[in-house]
């Protein structure tokens, strides 16, 4: 093929991000290594480096250890495990793929949550000899929690069960029930052997009874598109661009829906209304045209909007269509994943970063903690590392809020420790908290705390709350 023609074709690729869930023993790294290797994206010199390392740390004897191609950090190579999220890339004719390769053990739940947050599709690995394990339930729970709508169930090590159709059917059926219970919308089942490459790139001759596509073809063809126009327009203001007195543009990435010049918009949480005067699509800007005007734009474009009226708009605000307003509240029901060694306590104040706004707040009530293996609900006083819980989040200011299920980018937030500045948690908005309250998480001075203690001690009949 002519190279110019080739380039034309490849300029128009789609992109798909997927997550692989499984443990060392499931052959996850091997499967990824196999996909990278077989799609010819592993270059020769990287391959020869893996060969010499196989002799040192390899677990596959004389065969090249595919896992060593993907385990990045030196400490991980020595221990033979994947402890952090790693991102890998490969491309086919139709798509560019970004793999979030995450560890499967329970102590690395936060890493898996991290990888899942950006994925469109999850591949769940199941060892054909073992069937559905506790970890399968855990991985599936996290996948559904993070709103991944497409799950590919790769039933691996089929070579070790003589490519048995009945074993494959049995596991598929059991997983179907699990997925239904979790509300996972689309599931796909594949019999594979990552080590030998069965049904990874090419259809395997060992599984004539399998009528579906091999893994790579499935990833290539599956439909993950959403109809952007039907979604409500959401635009978190990221940056105010004021190069001179004549121009004032509001920059950001469209989180959902589409917008056109002339649309009536509302700026939240203040509620001021104006119209879109112009749209600059950053993608269309060139060195000679620095004002590339567009009539409309849609998610996930990075754009700059200007408004008809001079309204006060700043970073952290959300611009929406006046005809499709979200709820505004400072009191939200959320699912929280705790990611820090230091426990989450309801009396602590944290910084909550949602889209482009940072507001302080607390998780005033832990409704229940959920066991990721059994899905049992438990009452707890605080949350430890990797705990997942339903909480009531109270912010010091109201925000325009969407449910995570409806909008991943405006329904999600991270939790930042105000002393260490570390990311200590991540959460998803589930809805407004039913119990409306005026009490907002505020910080009290020493004198106020002393006053509170005094009242509690001397006037117990007032039922005064502890601050």
């Amino acid at each position: 093929m002519d190279i110019i023609e080739y380039l034309k074709k490849h300029e128009n690729k789609d992109m798909l991000r997927f997550l692989t869930c499984g443990s060392v023993d499931d052959g996850k790294s091997t499967l990824i290594g196999r996909m990278l290797y077989d799609s010819k994206m592993i270059f020769d010199d990287q391959l020869s480096a893996a060969e010499s390392e196989s002799k040192k740390y390899g677990t596959t004897g004389e065969k090249i250890d595919m896992a060593l191609l993907v385990d990045g950090l030196q400490s991980e190579r020595e221990q033979g495990i994947t402890i952090d999220v790693a991102y890998r890339f490969f491309a086919t004719e139709a798509r560019k793929f970004i793999i979030a390769d995450t560890p499967g053990h329970e102590q690395y739940t936060r890493n898996m949550v991290t990888g899942a947050s950006t994925a469109d599709v999850a591949i769940i690995l199941i060892d054909a000899r073992k069937g559905i394990l506790t970890q399968t339930r855990r991985h599936s729970f996290i996948v559904s929690l993070l709103g991944i709508e497409h799950v590919i169930v790769a039933i691996n090590k089929m070579d070790l069960v003589e490519y048995s159709e009945s074993i494959f059917d049995e596991i598929s059926k059991a997983y179907g029930e699990l997925a239904d219970g979790l509300g996972i919308k689309n599931t796909y089942y594949l019999p594979v052997s990552a080590l030998d490459g069965d049904n990874v790139v090419d259809k395997s001759l060992n599984t004539p009874w399998y009528k579906g596509m091999p893994l790579l073809s499935l990833l290539d063809m599956m439909d993950i598109s959403k109809v952007q126009k039907e979604e409500d327009f959401r635009f978190p203001v990221q940056y105010v661009n004021r190069p001179d007195l004549h121009f004032r543009g509001f920059c950001g990435t469209i989180a959902a829906g589409s917008v056109s010049v002339g649309d009536e918009i509302t700026v939240l949480p203040a509620g001021k209304t104006t119209r879109v005067k112009s749209i600059i699509d950053a993608g269309k800007i060139t060195e000679s045209d620095r004002n590339a005007a567009s009539e409309e734009a849609f998610a996930p474009m990075a754009v700059t909007l200007t408004t008809e009226d001079e309204v006060d708009i700043s970073r952290g605000d959300m611009i929406v269509h006046t005809k499709a307003l979200p709820a505004i509240s400072n009191n939200l029901k959320v699912m929280l994943v705790w990611m820090d060694e230091k426990p989450m306590r309801p009396d602590r104040v944290y910084d909550i970063k949602r889209a482009t706004s940072v507001i302080s707040g607390s998780f005033e009530k832990i409704n229940y903690k959920i066991d990721v293996n059994t899905y049992e609900r438990m009452q707890v006083e605080e949350l430890g590392l990797n705990d997942i819980a339903s909480c009531r989040m109270v912010l010091t200011r109201p925000i325009a809020s969407d449910n995570y299920k409806a909008n991943r980018l405006t329904g999600s937030f991270i939790v930042i420790d105000r002393i260490t500045s570390n990311t200590v948690g991540a959460g998803m908005i589930v809805g407004l908290s039913r119990r409306e309250t005026q009490s907002v998480a505020r910080e009290y001075s020493e004198a106020e705390v002393a006053l509170n203690a005094y009242i509690r001690e001397h006037f117990p009949e007032w039922d005064c709350k502890t601050v």
Binding site: I3, I4, Y6, L7, E11, D14, M15, F43, D45, E53, D71, G72, L73, Q74, S75, D84, V85, A86, Y87, R88, F89, A91, R95, T114, S117, T118, S225, Q228, Q238, Y239, N241, P243, F247, C251, G252, I280, A282, G283, I285, T286, E287, R290, N291, A292, P300, M301, A302, T304, M339, D351, K353, A355, R408, L409, S412, F413, I414, I416, S421, T423
Partner: protein, 303 residues
Amino acid sequence: MMTKERLTHLKQLEAESIHILREVAAEFTNPVMMYSVGKDSSVMLHLAMKAFAPGKLPFPLLHVDTLWKFKEMIEFRDQRVKELGFDLIVHSNPEGIDMDISPFEHGSKVHTDIMKTQALKQALDKGGYDAIIGGARRDEEKSRAKERIFSFRDKHHRWDPKNQRPELWNVYNTAIQKGESVRVFPISNWTELDIWQYIYLEEIPIPSLYLAKKRPVVEYEGTKVMVDDDRVPEELRKTAKEEMVRFRTLGCYPLTGAIESTASTLPEIIKEMLLSTSSEREGRLIDKDQEGAMELKKIEGYF
């Protein structure tokens, strides 16, 4: 695969990078963008220009000049400053200049440490930057695959690979304490092929060193090194031959291996890359010093 409602992979990557660049400008008080003159820097500069148009870049560019860069790189750099009008800061390690550090004499390890890693630390300390934007990509090397887009650094610019902040969705934690900083990698998710396709599509200027041409080269430590000036030791220079070569990466000329090639246009480069069997860093001598070399360099503060 693209419909009107779905962006192509390059447009998605572009939008993601612009989002990251704007996040830096909005959240940090004193950011800087590393500029190495190479193709990745050229793409970053282009993305930044898009992110802040019609305004100018809200941060300066920083070039750590080891004084051993290809002459053409410096000319190209100064030309871009004229054309785009950004602020450029150039820093070289004065102690290294006093010691007359030479990769030929002191070796790649010492040269890189003093003229690159130490020089970078000096420049960052001098500038007191709280965010440093770099052009590293996750597909370049295995330890990079695990690095965050907003990658935290302590007071000594050190990276702790085992204690990285979780990074979810497109919500980046930009909070730091005094003296700490963040390295930001807006093109983390681009591959080498993406970079080339984007340069081609957007007609981004790049130094012609990437294109094949007859150049004087010598065999040095297993690679072809271009004789860019007369600091190449004389006995080596005597062996110079004119060959059709180009460079897949640009750095210090004595440490940047040329590859034999006839690819003299962008499409030809991309074709060559697609058919190539060796990865980009093969021509770069510094990664080979020891196994896990990049991971160690990064922990010490190298980009």
